[in-house]
């Protein structure tokens, strides 16, 4: 890919929540994220960090402005096309693990691959095991999510986000619900996956240690970019 084309780009993105009193979540944000970057997004609560992440992750649509993924505008795409892009190119990790409680850990990781349907069932199982192994939870594969600790669950969620080998991983406070030891483990994992060739990571966090581990920090205040530091 041409290095000059940003992987994901926000152009004048504004998102207003239409309620009794309209709430502006993010306001006129211009942002370009290049391939391979590891970005942390920080800011006080209510500053629009998560909203920006959902917009960049094509989960939400901007009220004004547009999001470009790999140089092409996504505002004209319908919901199904956005879903297809999310499936193929994006991976989400949230503050809560959001694993499906009825399925085993292994099956949770397999789901996105099964939906994509580009691998055989055998390959899918193999890749799911491989991902779990990479995060030291291979032995938990056949357990249900509620039998795992919080840190383990979050690692499963990361494995699931990586299942279809996305170019962009979006994380919304991935360590927000963990104790310090597990936070460290999860943070290290993000550092590790961000270092993999061609993978971009954008993580919303309020942890300084996490922000410091990233290569670029975007600080939001009241829905606007206040600082954009590259290290």
């Amino acid at each position: 890919m041409n290095a000059a084309v940003p992987l994901v780009e926000a152009r004048g993105v504004t998102r207003i929540l239409q309620e009794a009193v309209p709430v502006t979540l993010v306001h006129d944000i211009d942002l370009a994220v290049g391939p391979g970057e590891f970005i942390s997004v920080t800011g006080p609560s209510g500053s629009g960090k998560s909203s920006l992440l959902y917009l960049l992750g094509l989960l939400d649509r901007p009220t004004a402005g547009s999001i470009l993924l790999e140089g092409s505008d996504t505002s004209s795409l319908d919901a199904d096309a956005l879903a297809a892009l999310r499936l193929r190119k994006l991976g989400f990790v949230f503050q809560f693990h959001f694993l499906l409680p009825e399925f085993t850990v292994l099956h949770n990781v397999m789901l996105p691959m099964q939906r994509l349907g580009e691998r055989t069932e055998k390959q899918i199982v193999a890749r799911a095991h491989e991902l779990l192994g990479a995060f030291d939870i291979a032995d938990q594969a056949d357990k249900r999510p509620d039998q795992l600790s919080g840190g383990q669950r979050q690692r499963v969620a990361i494995a699931r986000a990586l299942a279809n080998d996305p170019v962009l991983v979006l994380a919304d406070e991935p360590t927000g619900n963990l104790d310090s030891k597990n936070s460290e483990i999860v943070r290290d994992i993000f550092v590790r996956i961000a270092a993999e060739a061609g993978r971009t990571v954008i993580a919303v966090t309020h942890e300084n240690a996490f922000a410091e581990a990233s290569e670029r920090n975007i600080h939001l205040v009241d829905g606007r970019v206040e600082r954009d530091d590259r290290r």
Partner: protein, 416 residues
Amino acid sequence: MFWRVCIGIAAAQLTHRRRQTVVSTLGVALGVGFYIGTSSIMSGSERDFTQRLVDNAPHITMKDEFRSAAPQPVFLAFPHGAVALTNTKPREYLRGIKNHGAIVDELSQQPGVIAEAALLGQAIMRYASKDISASIAGIDPDKERQLTSVEGDMRAGSLLRLETASQGVVIGQGMAVRLGLAMDDLVTVVSPTGLVRRMKVVGIFRTGNMLLDESQAYMLLEDAQVLLDKPFIANRVRVKIADADAAEDFAARMESRWGYRTESWQEVNRDLLGLFVIRNAITYSIVGAIMVVASFGIFNIISTVVLEKRRDIAILMSMGFRAADIQAVFLVQGAFVGLLGMFMGWAIGLGLLQLLASIEFTVPGLSERQGFVLDRGFLQFGVGGAFAISSALVAAWYPARKAARVRPVEIIRGAA
């Protein structure tokens, strides 16, 4: 692959709420089971009844009467004229079907048609100082055997013995019991005109219909003509044709050809046949009501699952599942419940049929105890299954659509 994922998720969510799933499945199953049970009774008895109407009696009966009085010649001469005629009296004519021999011959030439001239009348049967009023039928035994099922109902003797015995009569068992008659006894038959003859009992039948068994008597047409003092006269032409369903048309053609009132079995039993339509409507509305209630059960469980699984739906969508995929997941759940209900319903239906088949009861008017006549066709099972699946899908459709409209951001934002 995609369907496997949908089905996998659907199955997992349903088995997670096992008790509710079982309850709503049972609802569907009971609906299907009862549908199979009731409709097999209904259609079984309908078929049995129609069979009897068709087989036990002639398909078509021509009577020695007219549907309407013949028009006066003056009206025929001046169809558009201002003609009034008062104080006319219908022409008197000799009762009986004119030229019945020719009619029977002409009808009998057609393939598959059996036609018989008969004379019906009334007489008193007297034996050992007891009297019973009887309906006399003067018949042709050979043709009567093919026209009606009397020969099959014979308990002793035979219709054919009428031809070999002199002055033979065939009576019903009810009459035989009431008069104390046995085979070969001589019974006194008194006609309305006062003619008295002694006739020999050459056959006893039992149809199960009390009215027939107590009052019907058969004899040769010639004997009846003598007894009733109507020489060479027949007042019925009774016909059986190859295709019973065509009887109405055939009767209409006969009537227009010869003018005599000609009734098909459908015309005679119009009210009964209409009753079946009403019965079927009742069956379907009851089963429909059961299925509607069952549908609410399905609607309830799937709505609950959708409500409970909003987070899972949101995460599946963020993962890249399309709205249609989510809808499919919940429709599949509905289909599961429907399918499971269908199979369980089939089992219940089979059990119910088994049970119904073992029941015997007495019907007023019939002397024999009898059981339900069941129609064990595939149709009931097919329709019941279709009922189950379609009602399940309809019930699942609304909650599934609601699931597909979940906006993942709202859920995830709310959870965080």
